[in-house]
Symmetry: C2
Subunit: 200 residues, 2 copies
């Protein structure tokens, strides 16, 4: 009997993640309503809180899927990339841009989920960020062999944040006339200049 | 009589901007309620919509003040800066960081105000952004005299977005242990490397 209950809980959990994922895709994080989810899942409102501690906890589960898809996209693009570490950084940044544009609401949800100031990011989140950061820090280590570990970590974080900032503000401004092609051009401009190659 | 009515409207407008500014400072954009503002201003709820077309329009007026304060802060820091264009960029970026940290909710409201996809950013917003961009593009023109106008504009936008991204993600993560001093270090690392000076 305990096995059946656990299986039913796990099935409800997956159903709720599927439904929340679709809801966020369609209307963004702010469109998510526990009441709608319960209705679509055919369960009582309270049943949601038997499998998730709160709605944020459910969004984190959706975000976990988004992070995995993002990681897979970057890995796929890297597989075809040239050996040149600068070009690898450019290709990853552009893959990040294309993923963000194609999955806008899911991507926004990764960053827009509010945490209480005293609440730390969950371990799996830090782990996923760590994996993405390894993709960046490896070519950086080749481009800048003289950076010590602390500087390389700071540079990796600064570089990811820079790419994120360019994609974020550009996609926001896309409605006021920033052509999408310019975003890839900006990413290439900044990264090639950062890496010290004179291709700009 | 018309003059009296206009003066009363103008006074109510200023009062509402003052109140909204305080409200956003305390609780952020999401804490803003028309009902509370009307109560604090001692006016009817409908009176707000005689002076602003909607609540977003009121937030834009608060954001205009924030942009002016940001511009003044950057100008003040620049007045004491060395003549070196790279160091001017670093000083401005760090001034941006300190302003964002000290005025967190006001600064977030600059970017978190939602616009309908078909709605363009208002002219005054684009004008204020343009002024900030001039501060950046002038030293960039000295560092990279060979960039053509279009490339310089892209580089300016990319550089502002990079600084914004570093400040945004770092302040968000401040609760998970990113020391504030590291943010200034990251900004210096990225900008000095971008400018091709070898001080990192």
């Amino acid at each position: 009997m305990a096995g059946k209950v656990a299986a039913r809980r796990a099935a409800l959990r997956d159903t709720l993640i599927d439904l929340a994922e679709k809801q966020i895709e369609a209307d963004g994080l702010s469109g998510l309503r526990a009441r709608d989810l319960a209705k679509d899942a055919g369960c009582a409102l309270g049943a949601i809180y038997n499998v998730f501690s709160d709605l944020n906890d459910l969004v984190l589960a959706v975000n976990a899927r988004t992070f995995h898809r993002l990681g897979a996209t970057v890995a796929e693009e890297l597989a075809d990339a040239p050996q040149d570490p600068t070009e690898q950084l450019v290709i990853m940044a552009q893959a990040y841009h294309h993923f963000a544009a194609a999955n806008h609401n899911h991507w926004r949800a990764l960053f827009d989920l509010e945490r209480a100031p005293e609440e730390e990011a969950p371990d799996w989140y830090l782990h996923e960020m760590g994996l993405l950061f390894t993709y960046i820090s490896t070519p950086l280590g080749i481009i800048f062999p003289d950076l010590d570990d602390e500087e390389r970590l700071l540079m990796t974080r600064a570089l990811f944040s820079s790419v994120h900032g360019i994609v974020l503000l550009s996609l926001d401004q896309a409605s006021s006339g920033v052509p999408t092609g310019d975003i890839d051009k900006m990413l290439g401009l900044i990264l090639r200049q950062l890496a010290g190659s004179k291709k700009i």
